[in-house]
């Protein structure tokens, strides 16, 4: 049976300011790749992908305030 690729979100772990999103739709992301940089607790915190996949959507932009659990990037798993 043909299945559509499984979609996953990379989420913010905590309340943070989005400093940079490094990826865009169509980009290939591998485990360990940095997809975004957040600012929280006066620190710059890189967000790493646990997954291998292709970016289908960017859900947050630089300057946004994200809450715990908010999507940053959506991937279709490879």
């Amino acid at each position: 049976m043909a299945r559509s690729p499984k979609s996953v979100q990379i989420q913010a772990e905590m309340v943070a300011n989005v400093m940079t999103v490094y990826v865009g739709p169509g980009d290939r992301v591998r485990p360990g790749d940095t997809v975004a940089l957040l600012e929280s607790m006066k620190m710059e915190i890189p967000v790493l992908s646990e997954h291998d996949g292709t970016v289908t959507a960017v859900n947050a932009d630089a300057g946004d305030v994200v809450q715990e659990g908010d999507a940053l990037v959506t991937l279709d798993l490879a």
Binding site: M14, K42, E44, I45, L48, E68
Partner: protein, 484 residues
Amino acid sequence: MTTTTAPAAPPAQARRPKLPREQDPRNPNFRLAALLDEGSLRLISEDDDSGMLAAVGTVAGTPVVAFCSDATVMGGAMGEVGCKVVVRAYERAMADGVPIVGLWHSGGARLAEGVRSLHAVGEIFHAMTLASGRIPQISVVLGPAAGGAAYGPALTDVVVLGPEGRIFVTGPDVVRSVTGEDVDMLRLGGPEPHGRRSGVVHLLADSEAQALQNARDVAALLGSQGVMTPEQVEQRDLATLLPESKKRAYDVHPLVEGVLDQGTVVELHAKWAPNVVTALGRLGGRTVGVVANNPLRLGGCLDSASAEKAARFVRMCDAFGVPLVVLVDVPGYLPGVGQEWDGVVRRGAKLLHAFSECTVPRVTLVTRKTYGGAYIAMNARSLGATKVFAWPGAEVAVMGAVAAVRILHRRKLLEVAPELRTQVENELAAEHERIAGGVEAAVEIGVVDEIVSPAETRQALADAIAEALTAHPGARGSHGNIPL
């Protein structure tokens, strides 16, 4: 409402063709032989239909007692006779003072035996609890472990989950009939829920062989702890493992590996509460435990789950006489309503309690910063740390200097024109740091013993532990290891 989902995959054993017991890979003789060093296995129970089999043997030369569910008989269900096999195995391990490894694949208590089987399962729990903190207990869950078979592993020190291991109190059918939730065994009690969410499982394995190897590694680390030999510690410059910018978060794993002897690291609870790393390994040839903040996750903040995870690990190490190395880079406790309601006060208190009662050598290293309540919780001098080291430039403070002056000089800052505020803040912060903060002040007060360079850190840690071990040989806590 009806939901349509693909039918759940049948349980693994249902896919396998029926094999005679002599060829069935679930035969406990095979599993115990795969766990133990070749040729070391000696059975200490009858190989019959009790549902349990026990043996003595060695792992990497370390003597252990082991037992295994017999999943070829009634799916490994536990009856009166089988439970006695486990209780006797515990008596043997306690008498020998050696680790015990349990291999689990069991649907729980034998229904046909009624309350007799429940009573017998309860006796296993009792034996496990009496052994807690006295001998290392390691569980490997290789198949379904339901009901009583779930709480057996849960009472032990380290739980390893094989790829087909599933742990739950009530299975998918009962869950569906009572709550209406449609869930399969994998999602209810597989690697994802127990590795990441519940904290039941310490180690996830990709294969049964890997699961058994994990158990061997942990049993050898706890059962044959070795002798600390500081003169064998090779120096490494650990400074290269941190980013240049002090504001930049980083993954602490390379630092943990850098501190420990190469190839000896076994991380426990890697995916659960990942803002604290807890790992066993060797330093100068001797087993030690490492507790480290991980700035990459939640900025390295302590929170309720990570404090509890660290507390349990500290208590386990203390009970088995394993010295601790505490790597500190912590901005504080994670603020939030969710945290407070989640019991960050109660669960955070466990870490204060665990370190305070700890009698093994426990050496702290502050790499970059340690603030506030989290400063105390990460094995501060005040909790009785054996030694507190700091790297040059480390910050030991109630909070960051800018945050501090915003409180201390709130009125004054309000009077400053907005465009000048940042500049004034920075000036006040520099002044504040001169008076109150900085690692030199911490040394003066006596809450940091010594500033060490990153290149000399391994030696300093090993020397401090070796010295404490000489002063208090065999120090270990006299308490159980309740699964906090």
